[in-house]
Symmetry: C2
Subunit: 405 residues, 2 copies
C-alpha cells in the first residue's frame, strides 16, 4: 500500500468512531479517507454529522467495495468484532481494531490468520489509549533486556479511585461520574472487575515477552469491594490504592502476571498517575525504568491512537511478533510468593488462604485485616473468595525489591 492513499471501511460509529472521523478530517497529510461507515441503525441521531450516503447497515457494502484497502473496526461487541476482523483478514484486507477483549481472547488465531493471508492487524489503540505501548514493545524494546511492564491500564477505575482518594467522593458517586464523562465502558463491571486491564495486559505480554497467556490463567481482582477502611489504611501508610496490571520476569526462565489493586507508595512513578490517565513503567536491564504517561480513556485520545495505526499502514507496517520466535522465552508461572493486604469480615479468610507468613493481623468488631505472604497459585485456587463483597485484596509489592531498585 506504500505511497498510495488509504480508503477506509469503518465499522462502528460510537465515541471513538466519531473521534476518528473528526481527527482524520483535521489532518492534511494523512492520505486517508473514510469511504463507508457500517452501523446498526443508519437513522440513529449522532453528535457528529456525516453525509448520509457514507452510512450503511450492510457489512457487505464494505467487504464488497474493491476500493477499500483498510478496515477500521470499532464496534462495541466482541462477537461482532471477531466476525469482522477474521472475515477481513481472510480476504487479505488489513485491519485496525481497538477491541481489546476480542483481541486478548483470540490473539493466537489472529496471529495465524495474519501470517496465512499475509496481511496485518494493528491494535495499538487497544492498550492504554494514546500511549504507544504495543508499538514500543514490538519495535523499540525488541530485545532480551525487558524485565517488567507494569502500570495503570484502565482509565475509568483510575478516575474512580482518584475521585475517592483525592476528592473524598464516595465510590458510587465516582462511578456514576466516570460513566457520565464517557470514561467507563457501557458495562462498568468490565472495567471495575479488572477485565479491561487484564485484556490489555495479555496483549502487552505477547509483545513484551512473546508469550500468550489466556485470561483464565491470570489472577485478576478489581476494585468493586473497596471500603472506607481500605482507603483509611492506605492513607495512614502514605499510599494510594490503584488498580495495577503487571507482567514481570521472576527469574531468567520464568515470568508472572496479575491484575489487582495495589498499595502504591509515594516513591513510585504510578503514584501520581491520577484521573483518567494511564501510566506504564517499562523496566529493563541496563536502561532501568522508562515511564510513559498519557490519556488512557475517552474518544479523542483513543481516536488519535487509531490514527497512528491507520498512518502506519501507509508504510505497510505490521507487527512481526518477533519475540514469539525467541529462543529461551520465559515460561509463565504463578509459583511465586506475593505480599498482600486483605480486609474481610464474615468470610474465613485465614482458614481458606493458609498464608505462608502473616506479618500483621488486626481483628476488630467491624472488620479484620491481614498482611501476609502467600503463593500466587494459592490465590488463584481460592479466587472465588474475592467475589464475596466483604473481602478486599491489595498487593504490597515486594518481590522485585531484591532484583534492583
Amino acid at each position: 500500500m506504500s505511497k498510495q492513499s488509504i480508503k477506509i471501511g469503518l465499522f462502528g460509529f460510537g465515541t471513538v468512531g466519531q473521534g476518528v472521523y473528526t481527527v482524520l478530517g483535521q489532518t492534511k497529510n494523512a492520505h486517508a479517507e473514510i469511504r463507508r461507515i457500517c452501523v446498526r441503525d443508519i437513522n440513529k441521531p449522532r453528535e457528529t454529522v456525516v453525509p448520509h450516503e457514507l452510512l450503511t447497515a450492510d457489512a457487505d457494502d464494505i467487504f464488497n467495495d474493491p476500493d477499500i484497502n483498510l478496515i477500521v473496526e470499532l464496534v462495541d461487541n466482541a462477537r461482532a468484532s471477531y466476525d469482522i476482523v477474521t472475515r477481513a483478514l481472510r480476504m487479505g484486507i488489513p485491519v485496525v481494531s481497538g477491541n481489546k477483549a476480542m483481541i486478548a481472547r483470540h490473539l493466537p488465531e489472529l496471529i495465524e490468520l495474519q501470517q496465512k493471508y499475509d496481511t496485518a492487524l494493528l491494535y495499538d489503540a487497544s492498550s492504554c489509549g494514546s500511549i504507544p505501548v504495543i508499538r514500543n514493545l514490538e519495535e523499540y524494546y525488541d530485545n532480551d533486556l525487558l524485565l517488567e511492564v507494569k502500570g495503570i491500564l484502565n482509565g475509568s477505575t483510575n478516575y474512580i479511585l482518584s475521585r475517592v482518594f483525592d476528592h473524598g467522593e464516595n465510590y458510587d458517586a465516582a462511578l456514576h461520574r466516570a460513566q457520565q464523562l464517557g470514561f467507563a465502558e457501557s458495562d462498568p463491571s468490565f472495567d471495575i472487575d479488572g477485565y479491561d486491564a487484564l485484556f490489555k495486559l495479555i496483549i502487552i505480554t505477547v509483545h513484551a515477552l512473546g508469550r500468550f497467556v489466556p485470561a483464565e490463567k491470570v489472577f485478576t481482582v478489581g476494585i468493586s469491594n473497596i471500603h472506607e477502611a481500605d482507603i483509611q489504611y492506605a492513607r495512614e501508610k502514605g499510599s494510594k490504592i490503584k488498580l495495577v496490571a503487571q507482567v514481570a520476569k521472576v527469574d531468567d526462565s520464568h515470568f508472572t502476571m496479575f491484575v489487582m489493586p495495589e498499595l502504591v507508595d509515594k516513591s513510585k512513578y504510578i503514584y501520581s498517575v491520577d484521573d483518567e490517565y494511564n501510566g506504564v513503567v517499562i523496566r529493563g536491564e541496563y536502561y532501568d525504568r522508562q515511564f510513559m504517561f498519557g490519556k488512557g480513556a475517552g474518544g479523542y485520545p483513543t481516536a488519535s491512537s487509531i490514527l497512528s495505526d491507520i498512518m502506519a499502514r501507509l508504510h505497510d507496517y505490521r507487527y512481526e511478533y518477533k519475540k514469539m520466535a525467541y529462543v529461551d522465552r520465559p515460561e509463565y508461572t504463578t509459583d511465586i510468593e506475593v505480599r498482600v493486604y486483605i480486609r474481610y469480615s464474615t468470610t474465613d479468610v485465614p482458614g481458606r488462604l493458609n498464608f505462608s507468613h502473616i506479618h500483621e493481623l488486626h481483628l476488630t468488631e467491624q472488620s479484620n485485616c491481614i498482611i501476609g505472604d502467600i503463593p500466587l497459585s494459592r490465590l488463584m485456587e481460592q479466587r472465588d473468595i474475592f467475589d464475596n463483597d466483604d473481602v478486599f485484596i491489595a498487593h504490597i509489592p515486594t518481590f522485585y525489591i531484591d532484583r534492583d531498585n
Copy 2:
C-alpha cells in the same frame, strides 16, 4: 539485511561503546555481533576486557571487511564522527550513531546521502538516551496533530540543578560530582551552555515537524550563570529551575524553538524529572499530553538505545523523514513574545533589551531582577548579553496557556 545476522564494525570504545559490547553479550536474540572495534590506541587500559584481535587502530580494517554490514559510530569527536558516517553511507553501509553534535550540524546532508546511496542512518540514542523519542515522533506521532515537544533533554545539567535545588549543594561541587559520575561530557560547557540540549532539539524538530533549523538560529542559553539569588527566587515561587528545550507551534503556519532555563512550577510533569533523568512532553491535538521519562545519561542507558537501533536494522528499519514532504509544513519564527525572568547587576539589561512590557522590577544593592515580556527575536539579537556572568535568564511559560491547558 532481513533475517540475516548483523556484523558490526564499532568505532569508539568509551563508556557507551563498552556498554554496547556488554549489552550485546547479554542478549541471546540480538542476532548481532561485534566484528571489529576501531580505537585510537589499542593498548590503552580499559575497564571492559575484549579479545585483543577485536581491536584495531586502522579504520580501513572495518571499511574493507566485506562481512561487516553495520557500522556503529560512538567516537567522542564530531569531525571524526562526520568522516566515518559519511564514508560509510557513501559505501552504502548503514550506520548507527550517537553523535548529536555532528548529526544536528549535518542532518540535511546526511538525509541526502541516505537517499542517494539507499542506506540508513539511525540515531535514536542521540536524543534522550534510553527514551525512544525520535522513533516515536517518526512513526507514532506521524501526523499533523503534533503541537509541541518540550523537555529536559540534558541529563548532566539536570543532575547539577537537582543537586543544587534538592540537596543544597553549591553549583561547582555539583558539576564536579556530575563529571565524576560520568554524566557530564568531557567538555562540560557543551552541556552547561545548553548546546547538548540544542542539538537534540534540532534533531527532534526534524522528526516532529519536518523542519531543519540550524543551531545558530536558535536562542540558546545554559545554566552556568545561575546564582543563589535565582534559586532563592524560584523557591519562593514554589518552582524549580530546569534547563528546558522546546519546539512548539505558535499558530497554524509557524513554530518556534529555544533552549533556556525555565521556572517550572509544581503542576508541570517535568517538575519531578530530577537527577540524571530526561523527561519529554509531547503535546498534540486530541491526545493532549504524553509524557516519557527515563535515564538520559550514562553508558548503559545510551547503550540500550544503541541496541534498539541495531536490532531495528535486522528488519531494515530506516527513518523515512515523511514529515519533510508534508504540505503546509509550519515555518520557523522567533517573532513571538516570551515572558522571562532576568537577574543582573552591572550589565544594563533594561537599556539593552527594551522590554515590550515589564511586570516586575526589583532593584537592590546586590542585584536587580526584571520580569517582563520581550520578543524572542530581540533576545536573539542581544544574545551576547547572556555571556556576561552577572546576567541570568529563565523562561516563564505563558505563550501556550491560551491554546489549551
